[in-house]
Amino acid sequence: MEQKIYDHAVLADKFNKDASRVDWHDKTLWFIREKRDKAAWQIAEWEELRETASQVKNNVLDNLHDYLLEFEKQAQQNGVTVHWAANAEEHNRIVHAIIKEHGVSDIVKSKSMLTEECHLNEYLQQQGITVVDTDLGERIVQLAGEPPSHIVLPCIHWKKEEIGELFHQHLGTPKGNADPQFLTAAAREHLRQRFMTSRVAITGVNFAVAETGEVVVCTNEGNADLGVQLAEVHIACMGIEKIIPQRKHLGIFLRLLARSATGQPVTTYSSHFRKPRPGQAMHIVLVDNGRSERLQQESFRNALKCIRCGACMNTCPVYRRSGGHSYQYAIAGPIGSILAPGLDMKQHADLPFASTLCGSCSNVCPVKINIHEQLYEWRQVLVKSGHVSPVKKAGISGMAAVLERPGIYKFSGAVGRWFMKYIPVLVNNKLNPWYKQREMPAVPRQSFNEWYRQNRKQNGKQS
C-alpha cells in the first residue's frame, strides 16, 4: 500500500477551496439523507427492524466459523466452487487464476467494495486483463482514472458537465452535451457491447445465506445480472462477514438496505444466485483480509456488521463537506474511518479524527453500529500507540495538563480572555485551526465561574 502524503484535513482543505462546489456536494448528500428519513418513517416497525438486524449480525459475528462452514457446504452442493483468501493479494491471485484458466482477457465487473479494498482492478490490469466496471457511476470514475468517492454513489462528486466532457473524450458523445438522459443512453450502448462480449463476470455480494448457499446481489441498473447471465463464468467476491444465517433474514435486511441507502423502498433487482446457469461455472471467493483479527477486538469488532448502505456518509457533516477522496480508503465517511485503521493503523491514523463525534452516523445506521463511539475509541488507541502528529499530541497533552488542574484552568481562562480582548491577532490567526472559517465570538467580561460566585453572593443564597 502506498504511503499517504496528505492527511484528511489537508485534502479536505483542498476540497473546500471551491465554496459553491462544497455547498452543492453537501446539499446533494443531505437530500439523500432526507429521502432516507421519509422512507424510514413510512415503516412503523423501522426501529424494531434495526434492532433485529443488529441482533442477527451480532449472532453472525459470534458464530462466523460455523456459518461459513455451513455456507461452504451448501454452496458446494449447489455446484459452486468456494475459495478462501486470507488477504487481498491471495484474493487477487485466485480471481486472476480463474480468469486465466478460461483464457479470457476482457471482463466485466459490477460494484464490489471488497474488490476496491483489495485493489483488484489494478492487479488484473498489471496481468494484462482489461476490467470494465459496469455500474454507471463506477464506469465514470474508472474512465476518469479515479477511485469511487462514495460506496453507493461512486461519482457523487462529479458534475454533469464534467461527465459530458469525459464521455466526449472517451465515448465520442457530442461536445457540450450534459443531459443525464442522453449520457446514460450513451453509456448503455457502450456497456452493452461489453456485456455481449465478456465471458467472465465478477460481482460483489450483499448477503450470503448460510442455510442455502445462495448469494444475493442488489442493483438498480441490472448490471450485475446482465453481466452474469451473459457470461460463462461468474465470480462472486465477498468478505467473510457478509454471511446471514437464514433466508428469512433477507426479509429484514432487504427492507432496511435500499431505504437506508437512497430512500428507495427496495433496489430494482435483488437477485438470488444459487446455482450456475447450465454450462456456466460459478465461483465464490471468501475473503478475510484482517476481519478475523478484527473480531478479536472487543471495542471494534461490531464494525463488521456493516451492510454498506452509505447512510452514515450521507448524514455526516464532515463527509458532506470534505468529499470521499479526502479519506483515501475504498470506504469513506464514518464507517470507513473505523474500518480503515483496523486494516492499517499507521496508514489511516488521520481518519478517526475526521469527525465531530456528533453521533448522526450511529443514529441512521440500519444495523446499529456505534460508529461515533468507535471513532472516539480509535482516537485513544491511536494516541497511545503514537500514531498522531506531534502537534496534535502536544495539543492534547497541553489540554490534559490544563484540564487536570483547576487552578491553572482558571488562570489560563483569564489570560486567554485578556489576550483575545487586547491582542486578538494572537488567537485569530492562520496558525490556529479553530479560527479557520470561523468568526470568534465576543470575549465575555468574566468566566461563568466568576459570574456564578458574584451572583450567588448578591442573591444571598446559601451554598
Binding site: F31, I32, A86, F195
Partner: protein, 196 residues
C-alpha cells in the same frame, strides 16, 4: 487450502462467553388497505406502470396497440401472445428482444417488487436483456411485505430467483433519475383481477 484452515482456526477462538442468540423474526402487522392498491401506488412511484385488466385478451389487445408486428416479443405466459423460446439457446441472441412477458409468483405491496424464479424466465438473461418487460400478476397474489414474501418462498430450491421492482434505472449523473440503465427501459405490470 492453507488459508481456509488458517481463517477457520482464527475464527474458532472464543470471542465471548455469551454468544449472541439468533433473534426471533417477529410477524409485523400488515399496513391497512388493499395490498394491490398499495402495490400499484409504490410501483408507479419507482417508475413502473400498472394496468388493471380483467382478462388475458385485454392484455393481448394492450400489447398489440403498443408494438408493431415487427417487434420481437417473447412471452412465457401461455395466454399472452408472443414467440416461445427454444431451450438451450445462446442468451446473446436475445439482444434484439423488444418485450418479454413473464408471470412472477407474487408481488409485494410495500416495495412494488415481484418475485420470479428461473423456471419462469425461459432464460435467465431475458428479464434483464430485453428492452422492455411486462409482468402478469393476479390481484390475489400481492403480499403485504417482505416477511410474507420469504414465508411464501420458504425453502423452494430454484437455481436463480430475483425480486424485480420497476425498470432498470440509475441516478448516478447528478442524482437525475434515468429509466433504462442497462436492463429494460420500462416495466408494465398487468394486474389481472380474479373472481374469488
Amino acid at each position: 487450502m492453507e488459508s481456509r484452515a488458517k481463517i477457520l482456526q482464527a475464527l474458532s477462538k472464543k470471542f465471548t462467553d455469551s454468544p449472541a442468540p439468533l433473534p426471533e423474526v417477529k410477524v409485523f402487522p400488515p399496513v391497512a388497505g388493499e395490498p394491490v392498491d398499495k402495490f400499484e401506488f409504490i410501483l408507479r412511484g419507482i417508475g413502473g406502470r400498472t394496468v388493471r385488466v380483467n382478462s388475458y385478451s385485454e392484455i393481448n389487445d394492450f400489447i398489440a396497440k403498443e408494438y408493431t408486428s415487427n417487434a420481437r416479443i417473447i412471452s412465457l405466459v401461455k395466454e399472452v401472445s408472443g414467440s416461445a423460446i427454444t431451450p438451450d439457446i445462446d442468451p446473446h441472441t436475445f439482444e434484439n428482444v423488444d418485450l418479454v412477458i413473464l408471470q412472477p409468483h407474487f408481488g409485494v405491496a410495500e416495495n412494488g417488487a415481484a418475485w420470479i424464479t428461473s423456471d419462469r424466465m425461459g432464460d435467465r438473461a431475458l428479464p434483464f436483456i430485453s428492452q422492455h418487460i411486462a409482468l402478469v400478476i393476479t390481484t390475489d397474489s400481492i403480499l403485504h411485505n417482505m416477511h410474507e414474501a420469504y414465508d411464501r418462498i420458504g425453502n423452494t430450491n430454484q437455481p436463480f430467483g430475483t425480486f424485480i421492482a420497476g425498470p432498470s434505472k440509475t441516478a448516478d449523473i447528478e442524482q437525475s433519475l434515468v429509466l433504462g440503465a442497462h436492463g429494460p427501459k420500462s416495466m408494465t405490470v398487468f394486474l389481472l383481477s380474479v373472481n374469488r
